[in-house]
Symmetry: C2
Subunit: 420 residues, 2 copies
């Protein structure tokens, strides 16, 4: 069975706003063994929306609409679905009573427009929405000779997500053939995609029943494996077999064998060894600290650090000698070393990491003017020795800052790995 997702809303046809619900819906449908074959984004226009609904009915078995269930004139999904199916809408007294109750509870008079939220496709079941006034609806019907399942969901993610998970998913699971999907993700950092593919494709190509997707971006390669079988155990064992063989092939290049992020992995490694970390960031300006502290309970291993954006702050918070900066420039292996050692000593952490570099655009003052944009030095101090790494990155400011932070995390991970 294949599905089409139709996102309704004119704001998603501007240069400013994306449809994001479809990523969640795709994952949920995949869980049920349903493949998403088409996604359509269409504006709040009855002709266009009806056209999209008609097209979807002709090419997909399950059609999921998101958005357009509100009370305004622009909310046309119910009308379009009815028109495409050639059926009528009837005002449902149960939904209507619920709407009046909802407004009464908040001591507001219901605006007359809202009654259209009680319109139900003939034969559809109501999908109760715990987080908004618009209920969803689902119609299991036959068009021509084919079974079609049409699902209407509200657009706001905080309404759509719980509604799908708690109401739609169990309902679909009860009427679809039992197919269970297993997933696994392996993650690697800072390794070329072509390199990963050359080494892993001879393995994953042997598994025609496991779908493998390689995604690259932001200094990371993800290998996604999915398999659908009649039981979860069977699906999981296929996925695990290929993933385990690829883990054995790629060895320590893989930082995550169950999908954890690079930040989570380094925090976990440090926590297990009772190590703590502090950072001194220049060109990344807090990005590394921000990534680490985005993880809950990061304080078990991460103590904090300093954003040493100016020469003065490098001296103040990490005891870098002024003469060193004047002689070698702030973007130098010497200053990277002094920053890592200085922040470690100052904060009393077991490990100190530093990042100093040129993110551009424009030229740097003093000695740093001699270095190219994209030159970054990392320092990693543990009290016995200090490792230094030079990076030469190509890209804009955002790119250089992100890759510098990614390199710092991977540098830390590999160093921790080797010192086991």
């Amino acid at each position: 069975m294949i599905a089409e997702i139709i996102a309704a809303g004119s704001e998603m046809l501007t240069p400013h706003r994306q449809d994001t619900n479809s990523l969640f819906l795709t994952e949920q449908l995949n869980d049920l063994g349903v493949e998403v074959a088409f996604k359509t984004i269409v504006g709040d226009n009855l002709t266009h929306l009806t056209n999209a609904a008609r097209t979807a009915l002709a090419r997909a078995d399950i059609i999921v609409f998101s958005g357009g269930l509100g009370p305004t004139e622009d909310d046309l999904t119910r009308e379009a679905a009815a028109a495409a199916l050639g059926i009528s809408l009837r005002r449902d007294p149960e939904i209507l009573a619920g709407l009046y109750k909802r407004f009464a509870a908040r001591q507001i008079t219901m605006p007359p427009n809202n009654v259209k939220q009680a319109d139900l496709l003939e034969g559809a079941v109501i999908l109760a929405n715990a987080n908004g006034s618009a209920p969803g609806q689902m119609l299991d019907t036959v068009v021509g000779k084919y079974r079609k399942i049409v699902i209407l969901l509200p657009g706001p993610p905080r309404e759509l997500k719980p509604l799908f998970q708690d109401v739609v998913k169990p309902l679909l699971a009860s009427i679809l053939p039992p197919r269970r999907l297993a997933r696994r993700m392996l993650r690697m950092a800072l390794i070329p995609e072509s390199h990963v593919d050359a080494r892993t494709s001879p393995i994953y190509n042997q598994y025609s029943d496991v779908q493998t997707t390689i995604l690259a971006g932001h200094g990371e390669i993800q290998l996604h494996f999915t398999a659908a079988k009649s039981t979860l155990e069977e699906a999981q064992s296929r996925v695990d077999e290929v993933a385990n063989r690829i883990e054995a092939e790629m060895e320590e290049a893989i930082f995550s064998s169950q999908g954890e992020s690079l930040e989570e992995v380094v925090l976990m490694m440090m926590e297990m060894r009772h190590l703590t970390l502090s950072v001194a960031e220049s060109c990344t300006g807090g990005l590394l600290a921000q990534r680490l502290t985005a993880i809950p309970n990061s304080s078990r291993a991460f103590v904090g650090g300093a954003v040493v954006y100016t020469p003065e702050l490098k001296m103040l918070f990490a005891d870098v000698p002024r003469e060193m900066i004047e002689l070698h420039g702030a973007v130098s292996p010497e200053v990277a070393r002094a920053l890592a050692e200085g922040i470690r000593t100052r904060t009393g952490a077991s490990l100190g990491i530093s990042i100093t570099g040129l993110a551009g655009p424009g030229t740097a003052p003093g000695k740093d003017a001699e270095r190219p944009i994209g030159r970054v030095y990392l320092g990693l101090a543990d009290g016995r020795e200090t490792l230094i790494k030079e990076l030469n990155l190509n890209g804009d400011r955002d790119y250089i800052r992100w890759w510098a932070s990614q390199n710092a995390l991977e540098f830390l991970r590999q160093t921790l790995h080797q010192s086991r």
Copy 2:
């Protein structure tokens, strides 16, 4: 004229990857006065892709494909477009020669697969791709009684974007009726969307020739205005008229009247007054510093600061007394004040900002256990007085951290604004 954008690629039908080219393409098409009415995402499947192409030809005047022009078996856009149009592909000798030359220049033998990149829709013009091996193509034709413009573009953004901007846009501008689009964006922070709409809709509703879109998210409201006229001057004057009236209505709530970000605005305000800033961040862990340093030349006003994640670092880098943390908790107005004053004094900056709060999940130790998750205190010290602000935010860790940083920036902006 209305357009449909078709993004081809199975990875965009997984839960992991979005189509992003369409935002850029929408902006570019809008510039030419063309409205995007449909976006379709379809996998690397000839039947599905041909179906999508056929549907688009029936409902749009301009059809833009992105992706599926590579050399592999999965690259099927040329074949699908030809099938939908009922025309054939012919191998173009000029493209073929270019392909051989391209590979020869890199001293690689061209793999036999690559010859299919020379296949051109009958009657199409070649769109030279300066950044990749797959050229684009454009066909200006008639299907039934209707003029249809079909454009095939490579998927990688760094190929698609320059190709559209440098080649397709001038070509389309020369064949489409002259319509010029003007845009303007006003931005506001931390104000409810309903409030903005109630105050601004009586104004923008008077301008039926200016399209107004309100977007809300991440603690910000954006008002986008666009107008299309036969000259840019005429379009701009309409957009400016409504934007200026709304600026007069919303006054200081608007932080940006030409689209600048909140970070850019506060940095600019400080630079103009020769003020400098340092930060002491606890729960946001570097996020505020990271946002400020993402802006080029932020060092003209931002000196850096400290990520004071543990009590010890609050003492070490911002001179907060231990007894104060024990007595009031780290998440307290007292500690927010001490952090802001301490980081300002330590770094010698004109202004010091602090953020301390509970981002969750889980409960905090000591006195902080008494505070709810989402409680955040901001401090802003200028050497004469220190302002404190209490926030009570509802959401997950990412949400609380983002809104705390957004509130800190807006707090700073409003304080600078009032002290003019």
